[in-house]
Symmetry: C2
Subunit: 242 residues, 2 copies
């Protein structure tokens, strides 16, 4: 079987439009499945029954995936805090926040002081539609992640899990220039990996087990077999293993 | 821990209204999670990698859960046929059919001639809002299920899996009077079991791992612990085991 194909930025947007247009899917539905697959990948990382998890959510669909993942991780028994500096414009994002609050899951506007002692930090700030520079307040959040990642003398660092595309990376070219990109430990690609994943060498999962046959054929996705009833599958590590 | 509580008909409707009202959930989202949990319960029944599965879908939300389950079971690798005699009135049901057709999953108006040789038949005809008599064409469909179930000389009968409430049963009192009710082999209750499940003695799953803490408290649900990242949990067999 051919390797899974990595998608460019405009191709990813076109695929999404087709899913939610002629294929009959809706945003709320696909975001639910995407967020669930992120949660299942995080669950797969550890046998620890109650992890401290901080979910960093951006203002767009990547952040929405994070809000959904946070809710499922709470139901899986973890201690979850959501950081959501700006509620996105779509009304659905407010509903996703309501759903969290109904289970008393904290939703904060700024980083908790305990960030560095979390077991897992999920980066759901920006996804495949990101371009340009990271603006406030997200630049400071990424700066803090980098500080945690590069600090010495910390016995155990949080595992950083990026959703679909590591935030701040060029979606096609990967981490850019100045050496201050956050390099996640784990990447959960959604639907199909984006080209930037060719520059990623950690544990790589694929989620979004909903792509209809018509779209798999049209985009020549060559998706791997998912195990059992799982909503995610671990790929061989990055392009390194290809 | 107290046993899981069985809900009456009006209480089930009120709970659903709260989920999709003040709790911020939407139909498309909850139907997706409900259908996925049905698919995961069916997957749990057998190690067989490709089962022949027929999903009987009614005109309401129970049928919608069936349409979603059918799609996930296709993605799990099974050979799925949907029987959908009448497309429900909500526009979303047509979208769910479109989603099936994009993966070439057959959606038929009447029963396939091969029904009796299926490995699994999913009864997603009527759910917790059902009352009164079963009308055409659903009466004939239930008649055929009963015939398959009671016929002698068949080496291996299909496993009948009911979604939330076995069709034709009184949602609170269970199978009614005339002895011609279909008795499913497996029941997948959604959100919380309905009172009719007290009259069910087969394998009993619970799905719908999305009930927020506020609703669990308000309705004193005493939900069991779900394993790992699973969207369903097997309960001790019916009230028999309680």
């Amino acid at each position: 079987m051919a390797d899974v194909r990595y998608l460019g930025q405009s191709e990813s947007a076109a695929l999404d439009d087709e899913l939610m247009g002629p294929c009959g899917f809706c945003l709320e539905q696909l975001m639910e499945l995407a967020g669930l697959s992120v949660a299942q990948a995080v669950q797969d990382l550890s046998q620890q029954s109650s992890m401290q998890i901080v979910v960093l959510c951006g203002p767009g669909n990547n952040g929405g995936d994070g809000l959904v993942a946070a809710r499922h991780l709470f139901h899986f028994g973890h201690d979850v805090t959501v950081v959501y500096p700006k509620v996105g414009k779509k009304e659905w994002y407010s509903s996703l926040v309501t759903q969290l609050k109904e289970s008393n899951i904290p939703v904060e506007e700024s980083l908790p002081s305990s960030l560095a002692s979390a077991d897992v930090i999920i980066d759901a700030l920006f996804g495949f539609s990101f371009s340009g520079a990271v603006r406030p307040p997200y630049d400071a959040i990424l700066g803090e992640l980098r500080r945690i990642q590069t600090s010495s003398g910390q016995p155990k660092k949080p595992t950083i899990v990026a959703v679909d595309a590591p935030s701040g990376w060029d979606v096609e070219k990967g981490p850019q220039g100045n050496g201050d990109a956050v390099i996640p430990d784990v990447l959960v690609s959604l639907t199909a990996p984006k080209k930037c994943a060719e520059h990623f060498y950690g544990r790589h999962y694929l989620g979004g087990r909903f792509v209809p046959s018509s779209i798999q054929r049209k985009y020549r996705l060559e998706l791997p077999a998912y195990p059992g009833a799982s909503q995610c599958v671990e790929l061989s590590t990055g392009k390194k293993g290809a």
